[in-house]
Subunit: 229 residues, 6 copies
């Protein structure tokens, strides 16, 4: 029992529908998160390593141990074009698991980005490559390659549950996980939501109040809001 | 789409086998975590509200919103004797979601404890009741009852994935989640592991070194360890 | 302008009504905070240095600089029996501003406790004295006495606004500030609230659900809660 | 008593003198903070969402609950040209209370910026608009609109006390609150201070030591400083 | 170059003079820290795992990697009666590096305690043994044994520099490191300091003010302190 | 004893060999840290105040007290061209110890940068000057000049031990300290390491897997890695 939990690489995973992924890639994380009913968001300590980083792809998941990036090398082989690597760690750790060489390798394999609940290094080089990386920390500290983790198993990354093949969307506002099974639905809901915003933006820009546009005054009064001078 | 994610209470959940739960309750969290291959541990910021608190039960899960404990009241009805309530929140929040009255209610329904990724209050009273509570924080701040969450849906609580019916073991060392499907196996592995420790303890207490008992010297030498004067 | 903000000791402050203070001292922080409409709570990082510490008194406020406890000595002279010292700092700092000697002095002057947004030391000795101290941290590090702060000016301590003479109640659940002007009202509200709880406790202990006792089922259904099997 | 604390909107507030606000807007936060005697600074966890953000205005204050941004919509109506919205929360919470639509609305009403002890989203869009926002966090997570807070009541925001109408200055160095009553004085002191710096800068750039320019050598020797080889 | 930094065990270290260690063991950390001129204190996040834990011994140092406790086993062999093990880690990590079995072994070898900038587990059992442990965290998570660190090299542990053989004193107030070369001097200074406190305590308990006892009034007046009514 | 620890300025320090410093300045922190056997890295909370900041120089060390920057002025006189100032503090403190005027002075004296375990202010001005500063925080809060620290004594800064004259390299990935005695060796090792990377980068960019390039497959299989479908 005690050794079976790590050391597994799943090669055949069911990736979310490509059309849904492409559609989701058009929307921001805030929109997708709303469209999905406000579920699946990672913690706010995850940040892009450069301003403007944005990525949307199908998850290749990695479970690593603190201070050990062996499984990122194993994961590279499992990457298919359009994938985003989602790396979780069995304990909070800010070591630099990932740097320019792995970024070069991941990109060569077709990866569209990396989300890692750990640290990364070579951030100037990776930023210059415009390879989108979202991490818990930046650290120059290298890692060993000595203990097995797993690739393409379900993981909890930065507070969100991720299955291999799920869609992950990441931008300056955060990172959201969309289960593969509902990717198309969520993409449609995102589209509907976005369509709805242009008109609101225009009305608000013209000075109309949200109080009126969203018809909040009655509910506020009912809740007991009092205006005083 | 955008409202379907919350507002669900699942009434019939499959709880882990009672015998396995009972067996697991004999072991500490460190032992169970090892027995399960080092998976399923919650984050270290979760702490018992009193020294010596310990609990082992089947999970009734709750998904709450920051500052809103409405779903804890809904969850109370779903508690069966032997359950432990596992409360997750959609964002980090330390409000006092739970106090003496809810503890009284939960205990009356048969709950053996609470694990909450949020704050609790009335800690002196709850400690005096010896109702085991493990939380992210202690806070006197009360919460509202206005937004729907869910009960008995899968949640991520303090970094660990929990399905309704899973076994959760909590003590001074932390909190571990054992999936219902493997609870019996993990309980057996924990038993085997514990049996193994008494002899080790005796030998170490007699002054034998772990270096010898675990036969580490060769591996250390091979890895290049150098003794200098 | 630039030096006038510090270096002031106000000797005559208006303390809250003694009867109100005494009445408030009977209730826990959670109750008082509710009674006051959920305002005035300090941050959750403030913790008692020993289990069971509890204090209720009228505030003598202190504004200190990081690493400098000079003003605590100045404050000692302003303490009257029944006062609680509330020490704020111009920046987050965990130095040990307060130890056994100052605790001895404060107690000799009649202080009933200390709330300090900083560190304290000699915690075993102060605990043995049963002098209630609530702090941000514990630190052996001593402080200098070289820069003027102020005594009995309005301060923000651990996120709560405190005026000299306000009532401060502190226990294991946290720390709440009650403005002197409304102390009697809040005390009455706390009393009413407490009276109300005994009956609820009894009904919940008998197995009645909060859902029924608080009549939540209609509101939940209206909000859209769905029970599934 | 227990419901009166929230649910208030004050419509007529006394804003600081316009000339003083304009004068203060010329100086950086570090200068204004010094000019005010080193009081009124918010905590360092508050950061601009884009490099170069700077704002100076009169405070419209908001008190919100965790996960609930209803009061920001209520506040929009109270904004007058030149105001800066200061949003505090009753508990630490990083949800995305504010996004592009509210930014559009606030700007349309004449707001010069937002300071929020919470999270914001749509940061790329808001940065592109160059609407200055200073926040505790960035989060894609939306908020509900269900519980009353207040508008234009005194608040503690990120550790600083703010009254409606006070001047708030924010830039890359932090955020400082200047009480309306002393805004003109502080503006004058800031001007005097700034005038004084040009000469110092020139002398230091020429290689003169602060030790000499500030005449510190005597005080250092008196304090016991020892030079060794 | 790149592999020489780890993998060293120094067997012969010069331990601080036994008499000085014994003398230092009589004083609290706050006193020793003052006696040493306020140097050598570890960070405040280091806490005892049970109330009342206290230890004073000569340092056997360990440098570990995140998630790897191999070197603690190596260190056990180097322990001599009266030693305290000081374990540092190359990166912040809260894994449970140390548990009951190692505590049993360390005690059997004569260790008087453990200070570890990492996590520990089996805290109830170790507390029952009354083996003093001071740590950054408590975690049930076990560690691997695969990468070499070092034993008895200079380390930085929780922000303090420690050489093998230095005296380390730990209690509820914190942890202080006294270099072996000055242990006797610091012990004498601690003794002198302590002698001095009894009289002060008595005078303060009698109501005398620190302002008078320490003759602070002139300095305060000179600094500009103003008393107002 | 109790006053000797502070108040020392060492004037003649042995700086690392200039050629080694120059050579080290060509490499990134990640490379230098690897070349040194993964020792000497500061904590990850230290960040550059502007994107692209990079510095390499010989350390002039400063030991300050919280809220007091007097010693930075003392340090200015000890700066020689090519030095980098390394400022440590006796307790965690985020005050703005350093601003534009000191940056002007440090640069005039020949300093190539500042690493400070504390806060800084005037970050827009210092960024415009392109004076590289790496700090724990940004804060507008000024500091006093009243308590002696030391200059050019050994310090622990952000978790790393620094001796005056050591080489410190800082960039976007972090900050590493190279002891003066081994600076040339580490520089050579860095050069060798870098030479080795160009070829690897090319092969990875061409799609070769790290698994093959680093010949990891055997070790992974031996460790028990299992591929499943």
């Amino acid at each position: 029992m005690s050794t079976s939990a790590f050391g597994i690489v799943r090669r055949n995973i069911k990736r979310a529908d490509k059309a849904a992924v492409q559609k989701l890639s058009r929307y921001g994380v805030a929109t997708v998160h709303e469209a999905q009913g406000r579920l699946g968001l990672m913690k706010t300590f995850m940040r892009p390593i450069y301003t403007g980083a944005k990525a949307c792809g199908t998850a290749v998941t990695v479970l690593m141990h603190p201070g050990d990036n062996w499984m990122l090398h194993v994961a590279a082989e499992q990457i298919q074009p359009g994938d985003i690597v989602i790396a979780a760690c069995t304990a909070d750790n800010e070591d630099g698991f990932f740097g320019e060489l792995l970024a070069t390798s991941f990109r060569a394999r077709g990866a569209v980005g990396l989300v890692i609940d750990g640290g990364v290094r070579d951030v100037m080089e990776i930023s210059a490559m415009e390879f989108p990386v979202f991490s818990r920390a930046i650290s120059a500290k290298g890692t060993v390659k000595s203990t097995l983790g797993s690739v393409n198993v379900p993981v909890v990354c930065a507070g969100a549950s991720v299955e291999p093949g799920d869609v992950v969307v990441a931008d300056q506002d955060g990172i959201v996980v969309v289960p593969a099974a509902i990717a198309a639905q969520v993409a449609d809901a995102a589209e509907a939501r976005e369509a709805n915003e242009a008109d609101k933006r225009k009305r608000l820009a013209a000075g109309e109040l949200g109080l009126d546009m969203y018809k909040m005054r009655d509910a506020l009064a009912k809740a007991g809001l009092k205006y005083v001078d």
